[in-house]
């Protein structure tokens, strides 16, 4: 959906509202599906607690000197990695959930039935990840709260809006990558390899779990260009160093062009993949 859509279609806003009303249906579907697997649901929360414990143990063997300082404050590895995990959760949602949703719909045979309804591709994509977009931040927030309570992590509550701003600018970037992955899944059926590669690359070449100080030089150069590294630093500066929105303007301006390019390329790729499948008549095949 863009400006030319609005100009071409006099009912654009009415359609926008109609499409928006479909999103809760996806949310309800995904919640009920998750709830139907109650063991997996509770295991996920147990896993979260174990993750906190695991990184506490790893933190005890990491040299504190390799961990950067934020807002002039030297932070510990556990603080460093807790924020990394929280941000990576967003990346994983955008990258893996859209692909797995499309793949699942292909496998169980509902993709053709869904796309035979009057739904826009964007609504389908957004609807497919909506539950996770709500659930994962809740899960992440709980992770951070648990971490701050049990691991004595000091977070700056007043800087949450600044961290959120950086994430909001970053979401279109991973969304675009997710669309490219979804396009690959539609076209080649198995998009998981591409997603895994992208996710591994982004994880390694960023400061998600390890400070850039521990990387070899050639990886460090990649890591410094990676928009995810900028986002990680921005969120840590906010949550651990107390930086405000004004302090993070440089990060926002650095990430924004990546986001725009990724979103445009991703939307185009997904639209092309969908048209190709319709043309070939293989939309429901897997």
């Amino acid at each position: 959906m863009n400006a030319s859509d609005v100009a071409r279609n006099p009912h654009f806003f009415a359609e926008l509202i109609e499409e928006g009303r479909k999103i809760p249906a996806f949310f309800r579907r995904d919640f009920l599906t998750l709830w139907s697997y109650r063991l997996a649901f509770f295991s996920d929360w147990a896993n979260l607690a174990i993750q906190v414990l695991l990184f506490t143990l790893i933190g005890s063997i990491v040299d504190p000197d390799v961990v950067p300082s934020y807002g002039g404050r030297q932070v510990g590895y556990v603080e460093f990695v807790a924020v990394g995990i929280a941000v990576m959760a967003f990346v994983q949602v955008a990258l893996t959930r859209m692909v797995s949703a499309i793949r699942r719909e292909q496998m169980i045979g509902t993709l053709e039935a869904v796309l035979a309804t009057p739904i826009r591709p964007f609504t389908f994509q957004l609807g497919s990840v909506m539950f996770d977009l709500v659930y994962v931040p809740l899960r992440t927030a709980l992770f951070l709260v648990l971490s701050s309570v049990f691991l004595a992590i000091e977070l700056h509550p007043t800087s949450w809006p600044a961290a959120l701003l950086v994430l909001m600018v970053f979401i279109p970037f991973v969304w675009g990558l997710g669309e490219i992955s979804a396009a690959a899944t539609l076209t080649y059926r198995q998009g998981a390899g591409f997603v895994g590669l992208a996710l591994t690359g982004m994880t390694i070449f960023s400061e998600g779990y390890f400070p850039v100080a521990v990387f070899p030089d050639w990886i460090r150069r990649f890591a410094e260009l990676n928009p995810l590294t900028a986002v990680m630093n921005g969120v840590r500066e906010a949550l651990l160093g107390g930086a405000g929105t004004g302090d993070l303007l440089e990060t926002v301006l650095y990430v924004a062009p990546f986001s725009i390019v990724s979103l445009v390329v991703g939307s185009t790729a997904f639209g092309m993949a969908l048209r190709r499948e319709r043309k070939k008549g293989t939309l429901g095949q897997y």
Binding site: S36, I108, T117, R120
Partner: protein, 346 residues
């Protein structure tokens, strides 16, 4: 959903249907004109024409691989044609590109596994109703109504994964009629169902057609279109081999194969067979029916011969004719004759 006044008079093309739910359309609701489709060098559909008025059931008949499902996909907009036009309610916008068109078409796919099996039948319908653009209250009401319509009201809260094949089939029908679209595309709806289940499904569609929907019904089960479909188009190897009414299709068939039961007082079938063979040699061929030890034989008549003459000859030769029946139904004869003719044309 109110019951419509009546089903169209059969084969009437220029009627106006004014009914609650399934819309108000003149003449043919669905028109398919010159639709072709290739997959690489293979031509799967070649210049298909269809015209389906409101309130009628149009059977698309053909053997496996005839191109029936591809045709439905093109009409539904999940596949593009290489050439030709599909018009729904006078609008030739492609359903794949036009959301309004997709609203006018209900699809009952061949496979029943097109639901979220962890959700109940009701939740599945609620979800698809919302995707169709229904508001929450209306989606809830239509989900309940549709389930009741297909006899699944008692199983509404049961997980779809626990439904039997027949129940899943009925759920696909309930989904297709959620928004009461003017066109319903039904792909092999009775596949895998027992005769009673198949009859029940056909009855549902007769009822839906009675309320004004134009139904395209693909099948390879030729026995089920008799007394069910208003029109039939027979497709073989992507081309229309016949288009007309079911009686017209049957009229094409001259039955040539019969099962006859003969007796001459002798207990030996082989003797009767030899006598019979000699008697009908000018009319065709008499062979032993499989497992026909009790005097049953197959009589295959040559073209331009008359059954009565052959039976007279058998009687005159001392073979008493106890019973005669067609080995195949007339409609099956017609189907096979058309397929056979198409194969010889190649």
């Amino acid at each position: 959903m109110d019951e419509g006044p009546c089903r169209n008079s059969r084969f009437s093309l220029n009627v106006v249907i004014a009914m609650d739910g399934y819309g108000d359309f003149e003449s043919a609701v669905l028109r398919v004109a010159g639709v072709s489709r290739s997959f690489g060098p293979k031509l799967v559909l070649d210049g298909i024409d269809l015209e389906v008025p409101a309130g009628t059931i149009h059977a698309v008949l053909g053997p496996n691989g005839a191109g029936k499902t591809t045709l439905l996909r093109i009409i539904a907009g999940t596949a593009d044609p290489s050439a030709g036009v599909v018009t729904v309610a006078g609008d030739s916008a492609r359903p794949g590109k036009d959301r309004e068109q997709r609203r006018r078409i209900g699809l009952v796919p061949a496979q029943s596994q097109s639901f979220y099996m962890r959700l109940s039948g009701y939740e599945n319908l609620l979800f698809f109703g919302r995707l169709q653009g229904l508001g929450k209250k209306r989606a809830v009401r239509r989900a309940h109504d549709s389930l009741a319509e297909v006899g699944l009201a008692d199983a509404a809260d049961m997980r779809a994964g626990l439904y039997s094949t027949g129940m899943l089939r009925r759920l696909t029908i309930a989904r297709a009629v959620l928004v009461e679209p003017p066109v319903l595309l039904v792909d092999e709806a009775t596949m895998g169902l027992d005769p009673e289940g198949a009859r029940s499904v056909r009855d549902m569609f007769v009822d839906i057609a009675r309320r004004g929907a134009a139904i395209v019904w693909t099948t390879q089960r030729i026995d089920e279109i008799r007394a069910f479909a208003d029109r039939v188009t027979l497709i073989h190897e992507g081309r229309v081999r016949f288009a007309g009414s079911v009686p017209e299709l049957i009229a094409l068939a001259t039955p040539r194969h019969y099962v006859v039961q003969l007796s001459n007082g002798s207990s030996r079938s082989q003797e009767i067979l030899e006598m019979g063979r000699r008697a009908v040699v000018r009319f065709g061929e008499l062979t032993a029916a499989r497992g026909g030890g009790d005097g049953h034989f197959l009589l295959a008549l040559d073209p331009d011969t008359v059954l009565g003459d052959a039976l007279n000859e058998l009687t005159a030769a001392g073979c008493g004719v106890i019973s005669v029946r067609e080995d195949r139904s007339g409609i099956e004869e017609a189907f096979l004759a058309l397929i056979d003719r198409a194969s010889h044309e190649r």
